[in-house]
């Protein structure tokens, strides 16, 4: 490639690009030279940062730096994994944490690498874009004096008819070639002299355009991800069949994490009511027996000034509403429990979401009754949709459907620890200040209930009823709950757009051949010497074929072409 003088129409490349001529570097190699002032230093640094080598090293560093995050659990992707890791490695944890190894992708060192890479990228792309802008307007360069020095070079000779105007024939032949090249989407320029007519052609500017679009799109992706993150929010909620989620911070969410610029007060107003939840299980005896599938949350959505809509949320098919997307993340059973005091007055009656502990939905739930009874009451319950008995005598669920549901409850009384306002998870019971009245470790059996049954609480506290929910209109004896995840992602459209332009740019950058072609006709007595030559600018496996093709087609259009067989590719005599 570099055997040819460069000119302004070549793409601009960092000075350590492989195709750059091996000239000695104009600027001093080391910054230790005393002549180098502040400006010199800065220029030197900038040149280093925007060199191919730096880009390469930063790319490789980025790949390496990404690895630990796949080995050590990350707070963002797997918070429970981090907690577990801490328990398993109490000594190592603080060290790794100091190194930000649990937050690799937001760590200072990871950020430093990609920010430097992108600064380098921008510093590299801007001058190249300016240069390319000019180059696209430039005329194809002058035809070299000796085309035979090029690797891809062919000759044909044409015998002129007696009395023909040789000069005019040469021009006419090149005219034809020019048309042919134009048809092949070359940009052409004529360079005719007396006795020698030639056309210079260039194509494939899209290669550099594509490269620039690709790199610029990467910057676009980064900005869209960053800016989008600030406007993004995600939240979780749990709703039971028959109940409604209201998209408002105070009302609906069990957890909410907004980006920096999210206005919490003006979330889009809508509600989602869970009408029913469906799931099917593969029959026992089938391969995949008991495996659940086709989860579907049937919901009714309401937005201001609109008719209620019936929709279905499935895995892979979130609900789109008010600019948000609502995902089905999990499901389980929510037994309806009614607790009465010693006088039979209802203290509370509501469904309680029990969290699944295994694939057969053995589920764990907690009920806290702070007021209304003589003492604060805590219940820790297990729910078995299809109860089976282990060899140890303990219960377990053997199937996820409601074939033989049983609920067991352990009763605690004392201080729930919520009066002082300490936030506590609704799914765990802090039993430090409580006495256990039933279950393992006491001499009273756990309470055990089937749907519709009531039992008395110990010590005459009152009673608890496991309601048959079909009586209140739910499809099953125990209602289902779903956990939903609500996402709003402002940047995602832009990320997608830039990803697509990146791919298109990449396709052009990698597969559009950029090449120059020349056709020259020289008068040689009563003959015309036709020369065809091509020069690849960058990777171009098909250049030789392109030259041959042009020569064949062009000379095919001319009468009087002779000794085609003798025309050899790069005859040794041509090389000087």
């Amino acid at each position: 490639m570099s055997n040819f003088p460069s000119d302004g129409s070549e793409p601009l490349r960092p000075s350590d690009h492989a195709s750059a001529p091996n000239e000695p570097e104009r600027e001093p190699r080391t910054p230790t030279s005393p002549r180098l002032g502040v400006v010199g230093w800065l220029r030197w640094g900038w040149r280093q940062l925007t060199s191919m080598r730096t880009a390469l090293v930063l790319l490789l560093l980025l790949a390496i730096a990404a690895i630990p995050g796949s080995i050590v659990p990350q707070r963002s992707a797997d918070p429970n994994g981090v907690v577990q890791w801490r328990t398993d490695n109490p000594d190592l944890f603080p060290i790794l944490d100091r190194l930000q190894l649990f937050d690799v992708y937001t760590s200072a060192w990871f950020s430093a690498i990609y920010l430097l890479l992108f600064i380098s990228l921008i510093g590299c792309v801007i001058p190249r874009t300016k240069h390319h802008w000019k180059a696209m307007r430039a005329r194809p360069p002058r035809t070299p004096a000796r085309l035979s020095r090029l690797d891809d070079h062919l000759e044909r000779r044409v015998a002129l008819a007696p009395g023909a105007d040789a000069e005019a024939e040469a021009v006419a032949a090149v005219d034809l070639a020019e048309q042919e090249l134009r048809r092949g989407r070359y940009r052409v320029e004529r360079y005719d002299r007396s006795g020698v007519a030639s056309v210079s052609a260039e194509r494939g500017y899209a290669r550099e355009t594509g490269n620039l679009i690709f790199h610029a799109s990467l910057v676009g992706v980064l900005i869209a991800v960053g800016a989008g993150g600030g406007l993004t929010y995600t939240g979780q909620t749990v709703i039971v069949e028959g109940s409604t989620f209201v998209n408002s911070l105070g009302l609906g969410y069990t957890s909410f994490s907004p980006g920096r610029f999210v206005d919490r007060e003006s979330l889009p107003p809508y509600t989602v009511t869970l009408d029913s939840f469906d799931v099917s299980y593969f029959p026992i005896g089938d391969t995949g027996q008991g495996q659940p599938g086709d989860f579907a949350a049937h919901v009714t959505t309401r937005e201001p000034d609109e008719e209620p809509q019936e929709e279905t949320i499935r895995v892979n098919h979130p609900l789109e509403i008010g600019g948000d997307r609502v995902y089905l993340m999990g499901n389980g059973y929510a037994p309806v429990l009614t607790i009465r005091d010693a006088d039979g007055e209802v203290v509370r009656s509501e469904p309680v979401a029990f969290l699944p502990q295994d694939d057969n939905l053995t589920s764990l739930g907690v009920i806290k009754v702070a007021d209304g009874l003589e003492e604060q009451l805590g219940l820790v319950g297990f729910f078995y949709p299809t109860t089976g008995v282990l060899e140890t005598g303990a219960y377990t669920s053997v199937h996820a459907a409601l074939l033989n549901p049983i609920l067991t409850l352990d009763v605690y009384v004392g201080d729930l620890g919520i009066d002082d306002g300490t936030p506590r998870s609704v799914y765990t019971l802090d039993t430090t200040d409580m006495d256990q009245l039933t279950g393992r470790g006491t001499d009273v059996e756990s309470l055990e209930l089937t749907p519709g049954q009531s039992v008395d609480l110990p010590d005459g506290l009152g009673s608890v009823t496991f309601e048959d929910a079909t009586l209140t209109g739910t499809p099953d004896v125990v209602p289902r709950f779903v956990s939903l995840s609500i996402h709003h992602d402002a940047g995602v459209v832009w990320v997608l757009i830039f990803a697509i332009t990146a791919v298109l740019g990449l396709l052009a950058a990698l597969f559009v051949p950029r090449r120059r072609m020349w056709v020259k006709a020289t008068v040689r007595g009563d003959e015309l010497l036709l020369e065809y030559a091509g020069l690849a600018r960058g990777e171009d496996p098909a250049i030789a074929a392109a030259v041959t093709d042009l020569a064949t087609r062009h000379s095919g259009m001319l009468p009087g072409v002779i000794d085609e067989d003798e025309t050899a590719r790069r005859t040794p005599a041509d090389v000087d």
Partner: protein
């Protein structure tokens, strides 16, 4: 077929094992081919003494650097020769015929598995391996129409025997219904394109390895022994030519990989509510993408073109294999679809 009481899936397994056996034979044939090519080199030694300047045929013993270069030049142009003009290496032809035969069994086994499972046959590790290796062989056979890469035959068939045999032994699972998160068109697209990318990157990898070997031989030829290094290399194109072939396959693989990355993000957004979350598998897909971007850059960086960039292509493909095996089996993450427990 008489009623043997076999299920379609069992037949599929049988077809796959038959394919593995035939691939093994193909591997042997291709290996013999490489050895024989260099035998040609030895036989041509006597001829070379007569024919002072240039080695007699492809792989002939050379006496000058010019002759070495000439051999390589000829090998390079033979690589792009039309199928009818290629040298008639008997064992290579047997290898290719056997590969085609094995491929038909392999394809039938894979399609059979798909029919038995009533879905695309790439939904767990065993099936990824089936489809992925089918694509590797398909791409290899397809490329043969354009380039004479039969010298990669033993690598390709060897790789497929190891991956396919290994998968059939270690990853086989019976057909079970698809888990909900996998019910998506993106399973069809994302995983298929990833496998296709892998097929092209595998070819690039093999060529890069040969490039390094050829480079070493070229150095030995210049410095010490004109006829040094493994003999079969004398029938192969120059390191430069191998490098540009490797690059051509790598960029096709890279485009497909880029698409895999984007398609995965689109799917992740539907399935998990975010397009990117640095899940283990996402991280590795990204690492591989960056490695190949690095490789492409290296090819354009002075001092990195050639040997160093070839190493990046090799490391890139090792990462691909690592991603498929170790990451799937041992790393924790949301992509828990290996079907193994």
């Amino acid at each position: 077929m008489p009623d043997t009481g076999m299920s379609l899936d069992e037949i599929s397994v049988l077809l796959v094992w038959t394919a593995v056996a035939i691939y093994t034979l193909a591997f042997i044939a291709y290996a013999v081919d490489l050895a024989r090519r260099s035998d040609l080199a030895v036989k041509a030694k006597d001829a070379a003494q007569v024919q002072e300047l240039v080695g007699a045929g492809a792989g002939g013993q050379a006496t000058t650097i010019a002759a070495v270069r000439e051999q390589e030049r000829r090998a390079s142009s033979e690589v792009s020769a039309a199928p009818a003009q290629r040298p008639r290496y008997l064992w290579a032809r047997m290898g290719t015929s056997l590969t085609v035969l094995a491929f038909l069994f392999h394809l039938a086994g894979t399609i059979g598995r798909g029919i038995a499972a009533e879905r695309v046959p790439w939904s767990n590790m065993y099936e990824f391996a089936l489809t992925g290796t089918v694509l590797i062989v398909a791409v290899y056979l397809g490329v043969l129409f354009r380039y004479d890469l039969r010298f990669l035959g033993s690598f390709i068939t060897g790789l497929v025997v190891v991956l396919l045999g290994g998968a059939a032994l270690a990853f086989y699972v019976i057909v079970v219904p698809l888990a909900d998160p996998l019910k998506s068109v993106w399973l069809v697209i994302h995983v298929f394109v990833a496998s296709l990318a892998t097929a092209f990157l595998a070819l690039a990898f093999a060529l890069s390895v040969l490039q390094l070997m050829q480079h070493r031989r070229e150095r030995i030829a210049v410095e010490r022994d004109i006829n040094g290094g493994p003999r079969f290399l004398r029938t192969l194109p120059s390191a430069d030519a191998l490098e540009s072939l490797a690059y051509r396959f790598a960029i096709i693989g890279f485009i497909f990989w880029t698409f895999t990355l984007i398609a995965g993000a689109v799917w992740a957004r539907d399935a998990w509510g975010r397009y990117w979350g640095f899940d283990t598998k996402e991280v590795w897909t990204f690492i591989i993408w960056v490695l190949y971007a690095g490789y492409i850059h290296a090819r354009a960086t002075r001092g990195w073109r050639g040997t160093r960039s070839a190493w990046l292509s090799i490391i890139g493909f090792i990462a691909v294999l690592f991603n498929f095996t170790i990451v799937n089996i041992f790393f924790k993450g949301l992509h828990a679809y290996s079907g193994l427990s």
